[in-house]
Symmetry: C2
């Protein structure tokens, strides 16, 4: 990375304003056209991509910091956020700021907390920051080269999402307001990376008691109109807080 006066200027602000040694990285999942995607940034002059991330300010909680960082990069608010892991290996980012001396904020050792978020991809406006030239949705099964340990962080988030899906409902925020059963199943299959039996899927999803069947099926199309569902928000929230064995 080339030396940049703006980074030195920001370094001074962070020493003043932020908690040392702690950073936050967000894995933002979106679902579109049967593809599970993740929101990534590319820094100017770099080939590899990175997660939207940032630092913890002295006057905010970790969760508020994660929400702020996510909002800055995506405009998304009031989203489902889950702290899924902590990444505290030695030398995580050692060589990245080689051009700077050791007083640079960014050259500290950082322990980063991983938060994943599920968002409605169509309702999000990816926004580059001053150091990046691209901010895009990229398919999670074809990740580009990633900076530092960000590839590992995405994989860990995906595992955690899959585990969550095995015992909690998922879909709210990832699907449009109304959807068909095959569309919901397709979301599950995409996240799990495997085909599911239709009957089993129907049975398991119904036991959560989170779906409301609409009176009107979807219009248009040559075939029999498929039934439409929407989530029952209250039941959905209840199911999120329960453990199913």
């Amino acid at each position: 990375m080339k030396k940049d006066d703006r980074i030195i200027e920001l370094s001074k602000i962070f020493w003043e304003k932020a908690v040392p040694s702690v950073s936050i990285d967000c894995v933002v999942f979106g679902f579109h056209n049967d593809s599970l995607n993740v929101l990534l940034l590319r820094m100017k002059g770099e080939e590899a991509w990175m997660l939207p991330g940032g630092y913890l300010f002295k006057d905010e909680s970790m969760e508020d910091a994660a929400r702020r960082i996510l909002y800055e990069r995506s405009g998304a608010e009031r989203i489902f956020l889950h702290a899924f892991g902590i990444f505290g290996g030695l030398n995580r980012s050692e060589s990245f700021f080689d051009a700077y001396d050791d007083t640079l904020w960014h050259k500290q050792r950082f322990v980063t907390a991983g938060y994943y978020a599920l968002v409605d991809q169509t309702a999000v406006t990816p926004a580059i920051d001053e150091f990046s030239d691209r901010c895009e949705w990229l398919p999670v099964d074809q990740l580009p080269a990633m900076l530092m340990d960000h590839g590992l962080i995405v994989q860990t988030a995906l595992t955690s999402l899959r585990e969550q899906l095995s015992h909690k409902p998922i879909g709210y925020n990832l699907l449009p307001e109304t959807f068909t059963m095959p569309e919901l199943q397709s979301l599950y299959e995409t996240i799990l990376g495997e085909q599911l039996n239709r009957g089993n899927f129907y049975r398991k999803i119904m036991r959560y008691n989170i779906l409301i069947k609409l009176d009107e099926p979807r219009k248009g199309g040559a075939h029999k109109a498929p039934n439409l569902y929407r989530f029952d928000e209250e039941q959905y929230k209840k199911a999120l807080s329960q453990v199913y064995w």
Copy 2:
């Protein structure tokens, strides 16, 4: 808390040796006589209890730090450790070190990473440290008053353990080497805090394919001798890395 010269001495060592702002708290679960217990310390002169915890040294990874802290308090090695959450609220420990000035290491704002561990309670020797007068197993459903946010940390660990149990096998390390099906079911019921149907339990646990039935049933007792099982270590590890939907 009263002022203690030893804490001031340690503060200087930590400023030198440890990463600022990051701490680790361990929720160590053990299972004994149908009770799920957690390993807690009580500081000298305090009424409330706390989790075994500590700081991250500059030359170790987060996971190594968690293992070291756990080893110091319990003598347990090579245990299952899981980072289940990050606790970064404002003012988590604000008033605790009031007697000291702000140069004290312990008075920083700390973001703490929660790790839970599952151990064989009979193989562990709880060890007090120089600041505590008690280190004991206490039942998780009758927790005493806890310092700072440690009560919340235990509850979050328990929720995470319950969720893990809904989609991964649990029992290895928590049960003796051989056990009966009712003993395994009792462990699950204790963690979940609810009764389970015997047939359903048997069916679900068998699909993991992790149990080996021994040729010899348990000896002694007036009733029909119950079948004994042990875990198939290899299958158990495989099941841990899979997602069951």
